[in-house]
């Protein structure tokens, strides 16, 4: 090989690298693919219980949504080996990841998912979830909070059991934005570029509607669009700094944001670091929600899954979780335990909200079919500005 040949070899190596990286870049974009066709069976089956719970159990949940002791305690008491994965970061993302498997009647080895009510009702309609056998859930039957027993998406709790519930309102830095008390105040030019909104269409938009004086439960598509239009204006003018999930925590602690739309449980944890941060029920009311445990189709060992659901509905077991996560606990009797152990916590309205505290708050409003598609599209157009 002559020297000029060699030189060319090296140069084309460069070109080859370029082409390879190009291919990789395109490949990265392409990896979202995969064929999805046909409809699943729409007939809902009920879980089949088999004798005494044993074997192993895989649970998918959100990060930081359980204390460190509950799983080992459960394993010790029942002899069931638990594989607990914190792989849910967003309802929609998790759905998109699991959907191809569920379509084939498989659950990826998981027996429990914890997801928001609107997400589980979508999955239920697609035939991806199983009805529960209540005979193995006596604690759930006995101890579930009255207020959570008949949600619009699953009126008799046929396939869902609440994991935790909570409220969406505003988190403010008392020092830097003391007078922010309503969602409307977030549009005050004084706080331009210092306000984060949640990227959750079912929470952010209804909250803005409430500030406009519209009741989200009876809102029409036009009402949704009007609220989205208002949010769009604020995003374009730079009033809204950015749309976030839990990551508003970063902006609040660094001082980049002084008021955000946020979740009650986060606020309790954030206060531990910065006492100036405070969660407030907006003047026109907050949003209330619950995240539910469900058993997907194809779930291995549903007997163990129901045993776990029943276990966490024992007040003393639930108290352990509630103390750690600081969301609204769905189990009756936990408050009584705290009154003895930790009276301070028993008084916290973010963990045990009185009916008085939440009287202006609304449940997640219904949003279905074409209206849902249009609203989600319009809201995402604002997110993607």
């Amino acid at each position: 090989m002559g020297s000029s040949e060699k030189g060319r070899g090296r140069a084309s190596l460069l070109a080859a690298t370029a082409v390879a990286v190009l291919a990789a870049a395109i490949g990265l974009v392409a990896c979202g693919g995969g064929g999805i066709e046909g409809g699943g069976s729409k007939e809902v089956q009920t879980v089949k219980l088999e004798g005494k719970p044993s074997g192993s159990l895989t649970i998918s949940n959100w990060p930081l949504y359980i204390d460190k002791e509950t799983i080992p305690d459960f394993e010790k008491e029942t002899g069931i080996k638990v594989h607990y994965i914190e792989d849910i970061n967003s309802n929609e993302e998790f759905f998109s990841k699991m959907q191809p498997l569920l379509q084939e009647g498989e659950s990826g080895g998981r027996s429990i998912f914890v997801l928001a009510g609107y997400e589980t009702s979508k999955m239920y309609k697609l035939g991806y979830l199983q009805n529960l056998d209540k005979s193995a859930l006596p604690n759930v039957e006995r101890n579930m909070l009255q207020s959570l027993r008949h949600p619009p998406n699953d009126p008799n709790r046929a396939y869902t059991v609440p994991w935790q519930s909570g409220m969406t309102g505003i988190i403010v830095n008392k020092e830097l934005a003391p007078e922010v008390r309503s969602i409307c105040d977030l549009f005050n030019p004084k706080y331009k570029g210092k306000v984060d909104f949640l990227n959750e269409v079912r929470e952010t938009v209804p909250l803005v509607m409430k500030c406009e004086g519209t009741d989200p439960e009876t809102a029409t598509e036009a009402d949704w669009m009007k609220a989205i239009e208002k949010i769009k204006g604020a995003a374009e003018s730079g009033q809204i700094r950015r749309f976030t999930g839990n990551d508003y925590a970063r902006d609040l602690t660094s001082g980049d944001a002084v008021a955000v739309i946020g979740w009650s449980g986060d606020a309790v944890q954030l206060q531990a670091d910065n006492p100036n941060l405070e969660w407030r029920v907006p003047t026109q009311g907050c949003m209330q929600w619950s995240e539910d445990m469900v058993v997907p189709i194809g779930a291995p060992n549903p007997t163990a899954a129901e045993a776990f659901m029943n276990y966490v509905y024992e007040p003393k077991n639930q108290a352990q979780i509630a103390e750690y996560v600081n969301y609204v606990t769905p189990v009756e009797g936990v408050k009584q335990i705290f009154e003895k152990q930790d009276p301070e916590l028993a008084k916290n309205p973010l963990i045990f909200p009185s009916p008085e505290f939440t009287k202006t708050c609304s449940p997640t409003p219904p949003l279905e079919g074409e209206e849902e598609q249009n609203v989600i599209r319009a809201f995402n157009a604002v997110l993607n500005g």
Binding site: R10, V21, G33, G35, G193, N384
Partner: protein, 286 residues
């Protein structure tokens, strides 16, 4: 006879692993992506029906994000070139025994993951940081914040892809036969002339490779816009992510991916035509 046969077939065997890789992980997914991009319906019940309107809708609804992505990526590429060229030049010609140390310094950030480095920029550019205060004082950040603006996204892209510019530039500058530059000086060219007529043309393959390696991934990037951008700074990668993961509109996401791929491909072809394929392949290919 057998030896001749072996000689003829050997290259095909050598190509085998690469070809299998390419078919399995590029051609096959590409086929499914193409098919998906022509489907319609709701999640769980998508139907293949040559739904070309996915493409027209993708283009008309997200033209802003396309333009924005190319402007951000283009600006970042230009900034990278301006920063990288002098550096690569110094490493190639002036660094002496420091050459390896400097090259190591260029690559060192790769020892930390891309994500962590981008998140570090969130801290560097946060509103109360000295950097932001300084930029505000000299009038570069009139609104008082840098994070959550287009400037932050472009800065992030520039920083993250800079090594992809430096390395090919260094490779091409380092190959230059210094006797050619000496010859130019012998022939009474000034320093500027010898740079413009000898060094720069000879380093063209590095410039072309570097700009492609920077521009292409930058145009499809979504991490920088996610962490450093605010409302109104989302790039096309963020749109594809949101369509696929949060709206479960797989056909639209697939169509958008295709449009992005085609636009980048067109850009590359035009660019190479314009720069000349010799520039990419090296002067000997002429």
């Amino acid at each position: 006879m057998i030896a001749a046969l072996r000689r003829r077939t050997a290259p095909y065997f050598l190509l085998g692993p690469g070809t299998i890789w390419l078919v399995l992980f590029f051609v096959v997914p590409l086929y499914f992506l193409a098919k998906l991009s022509l489907e319609s319906g709701f999640v769980g019940a998508f139907e293949f029906n040559w739904n070309w309107s996915n493409y027209s809708e993708a283009l008309s609804s997200y033209d802003t994000q396309f333009v924005r992505s190319f402007v951000y990526a283009g600006t970042a590429t230009l900034l990278s070139l301006i920063i990288a060229y002098p550096l690569a030049y110094v490493i190639a010609f002036k660094a002496g025994r420091w050459k390896n140390a400097l090259l190591f310094a260029v690559v060192a950030p790769f020892f930390t993951t891309y994500l962590i480095r981008t998140i570090a920029w969130e801290t560097i550019l946060s509103d109360d940081s000295p950097v932001t205060k300084f930029l505000h004082a000299v009038g570069l950040a009139p609104s008082g914040h840098v994070l959550a603006t287009s400037g932050a996204v472009i800065a992030g892209l520039t920083y993250n892809f800079l090594p992809f510019m430096i390395l090919p530039l260094y490779a091409s500058l380092d190959r230059i036969d210094t006797r050619l530059i000496e010859a130019a000086k012998d022939l009474y060219s000034s320093a500027t002339q010898s740079f413009l007529r000898v060094t720069l043309p000879l380093s063209l393959p590095g410039i072309v490779a570097g700009t492609l390696l920077t521009f292409i991934p930058a145009a499809g990037d979504y991490v920088n816009a996610q962490f450093l951008g605010g409302a109104g700074n989302r790039m096309i990668g963020n749109v594809i992510q949101s369509l696929y993961l949060s709206q479960a509109d797989y056909p639209a996401a697939a169509a958008l991916s295709f449009v992005l791929m085609v636009l980048i491909m067109v850009f590359v072809v035009v660019y190479i035509r314009f720069a000349g394929s010799e520039a990419l392949m090296g002067e000997e290919a002429r």
